[in-house]
């Protein structure tokens, strides 16, 4: 049994492409071409070159000595925060912009929540000189002003999503509607391992560079490719998919997925999709999602704008359902405390999304000889105001 995608576009019972006929030609074009293009040697060469020279890969695998001492175990940090634009998101946007070029597309659209994927998309569009339109919920635009300014400075047009709850899920709806209205010249760069097949697989493959590097970096440092545990935070789940990718079917490696519990699982203000979600369809994918009994999609809550997505990628839904991964829900307070601790023990201020992953060390006890790799998926610059407000700095 494999935990990776099958030939029909499903992870177990999750995935598929539940899309209106209007999107069928776009999705079918991608499905038929994404592997052919991304496996082509000339594509790989250009992709790897840009990851090296422009993004700054490989990102270091850093042994966190003081954090390890505190929790009496061996903790390595995969430093995706050191990538250009400050997070793992750019691995995917580099891949997709090259793909869009090969498909002859002249216009890019994207959705964004906190603005990280929007910035990563605007960045690669500037790099390639391609028109860029980013949909962002009106509510998010108001609370993420610095990233809105970044996108504009990079030449992107930021369009407010005014429908529904005016946040990430609605920005995604608007991007899909744009694609319905512009089916020929436009490519939609989805930012996470969500959406209709082939997006979850395509984004996971572009993010898989993370686990590919972990393998040889850990071999150099510990003499083994296999950590005992991999830990990553999960919103839609792209940094987690990249972290797990090459280890999915390697049962010697345990997988921990960290979700945002918000103010607590039972408070009604949470984004812990695995616990609170039910099987259904969101943005063209069959997966776990937060919804009412009647099947209306509900609005999640987390202090981190990057984790408050009401669904989760189908790969992760399957990891949850099969028990392959252990899912842990971390509250706002636990995450903020862990973020402050990492800052003061290691001199690294993490994104609040990432802080959730570090809160696992208070939650769960590891053995002294365990080797643990945490994906440090993003840096905290964008969250400074939140940290300031929370800790009254």
């Amino acid at each position: 049994m494999s935990y990776n995608i099958d030939e029909k576009g499903y992870y177990g019972e999750f995935g598929g492409a539940y899309i209106p006929e209007m999107l069928y030609p776009n999705i079918e074009e991608l499905r038929q071409n994404y592997m052919k293009i991304s496996e082509d040697p000339s594509f790989k060469k250009e992709f790897n070159q840009l990851l090296k020279d422009y993004v700054g890969r490989p990102s270091p695998l850093y042994f966190a000595k003081r954090l390890s001492e505190k929790y009496n175990t061996k903790i390595y940090l995969k430093r995706e925060d050191l990538n250009h634009t400050g997070a793992h998101k750019v691995n995917n946007t580099i891949g997709q912009i090259l793909l869009a070029k090969k498909l002859g597309k002249s216009r890019i659209i994207a959705e964004t929540g906190a603005g990280q994927h929007g910035v990563a998309t605007a960045t690669v569009c500037a790099l390639m000189g391609i028109e860029c339109v980013v949909y962002m919920g009106e509510v998010d635009i108001a609370r993420q002003a610095p990233n809105v300014a970044r996108m504009k400075m990079l030449g992107a047009k930021v369009v407010p999503a005014l429908s529904g709850s005016r946040t990430l899920k609605d920005a995604t709806n608007e991007a899909m509607r744009d694609w319905i209205n512009n089916p020929v010249d436009t490519h939609y760069i989805v930012g996470s391992v969500v959406g209709p097949h082939p997006y979850p697989d395509m984004v996971a493959r572009f993010q898989a560079v993370v686990s590919e590097e972990i393998k040889w970096q850990l071999k150099e440092k510990e003499g083994t490719e296999n950590p005992d545990y991999l830990i990553a935070c999960v919103g839609g789940g792209s940094n987690a998919a990249g972290t797990y990718y090459h280890y999915l079917d390697n049962m010697d490696v345990k997988i921990i997925a960290v979700e945002a519990a918000g103010k607590g699982i039972d408070t009604g203000e949470s984004a812990a999709t695995s616990v609170l979600g039910k099987e259904g369809i969101i943005h063209g994918s069959k997966t776990l999602l937060m919804q009412t009994k009647d099947g209306q999609i509900t609005e999640p809550y987390s202090i981190s704008a990057g984790l408050d997505y009401p669904g989760v990628g189908p790969m992760h839904a399957n990891l949850y359902k099969t028990g392959r991964a252990e899912f842990i829900a971390i509250t706002d307070d636990e995450a903020m405390t862990a973020g402050l601790e990492l800052s003061q023990l290691e001199g690294i201020i993490p994104a609040i999304e990432t802080s959730h992953a570090f809160a696992v060390f208070e939650y769960k006890t590891f053995n002294p000889e365990d080797i643990i790799v945490v994906n440090l998926s993003g840096r905290g610059d964008k969250d400074l105001q939140n940290y300031i407000d929370y800790f009254k700095l």
Binding site: E21, M22, P25, N173, P183, V184, I281, Q296
Partner: protein, 257 residues
């Protein structure tokens, strides 16, 4: 024979109207259907509102959001429609996104539809291949006709496949767009209408998207069996309520100045 199939055999161009259940007011559903039938409409699509209607433009989105705020659910809609066949004879189709139907239970949903006298379903985000392999037998065992969409971008091969799976009509989306985005037709649509007409499909076609008045209705039905109006009707009830529906229908069927 299903009411839809019977209606399609009538020697006339059919007018089908979409409205959102529970909009503008939660208790408007039944009266809207009755007024539509009395005004001369041939077929009705009852919109089951969804929080995230991907294929819809701003007008239908806003009506869905309001209907949900008003308290509309699948269960309530079925309750409202319980005795609809006491008064209404024309074909009734429920149009809704797949997730609420999935949560209700596909089989339970189909069974309830049959009990009430619903004739067909339009589920834009249930792909034809998934329907074919997983749900076709359920729909058919409850006498429901499932309607599929085609667009100007749909390939001939896929249109043939959709035609082979369909047993009512084909919903012909007039342009690459969300609902209510474009008004009227240009040369591109004409070419598309003619292309489809020439394919001589087993199922008749009914055109939707971009129809809002007598002129566009006439244009759309030159080559097709009928036409569907959604956003323009929603706009009418938004401004005028549901008591002047006959005026709306008249403005579509008859040429006015």
């Amino acid at each position: 024979m299903n009411r839809i199939q019977k209606k399609l055999q009538e020697n006339k161009k059919l007018l089908s109207i979409y409205f959102t259940a529970g909009y503008p007011n939660i208790d408007d559903t039944v009266t809207t259907i009755q007024n539509l039938e009395n005004s001369g409409v041939d077929m009705i699509e009852i919109g089951l509102p969804f929080s995230d209607p991907l294929a819809d433009g701003p007008t239908i989105q806003a009506s869905s959001t309001q209907a949900l705020k008003n308290g509309m659910t699948s269960e309530l809609l079925f309750k409202q429609l319980k005795d609809i066949r006491d008064t209404v004879k024309i074909p009734l189709i429920i149009m809704g996104y797949f997730n609420p139907i999935l949560q209700f239970g596909v089989e339970a949903f189909c069974k309830t539809c049959q009990d009430i006298g619903i004739d067909g379903l339009i589920i834009p985000d249930l792909p034809v291949d998934v329907y074919h392999s997983e749900y076709k037998s359920i729909f058919e065992s409850y006498g429901l006709i499932n309607i599929f969409l085609i667009t100007p971008q749909t390939s001939d091969d896929r249109i043939r496949y959709i035609d082979s799976v369909s047993n009512g009509f084909i919903y012909m989306v007039s342009s690459a767009s969300t609902t209510g985005a474009k008004s009227g037709f240009g040369p591109e649509q004409d070419a598309y209408f003619k292309r489809i007409a020439k394919m001589d499909l087993k199922n008749p076609q009914i055109v939707g998207f971009g129809i809002s008045n007598f002129k566009t209705f006439k244009h759309a039905t030159t080559h097709a069996k009928g036409a569907i109006i959604g956003s323009a009707f929603i706009k009418h009830v938004t401004h005028n309520g549901i008591n002047t529906i006959d005026q709306f229908t008249n403005s579509i069927i008859h040429e006015t100045i």
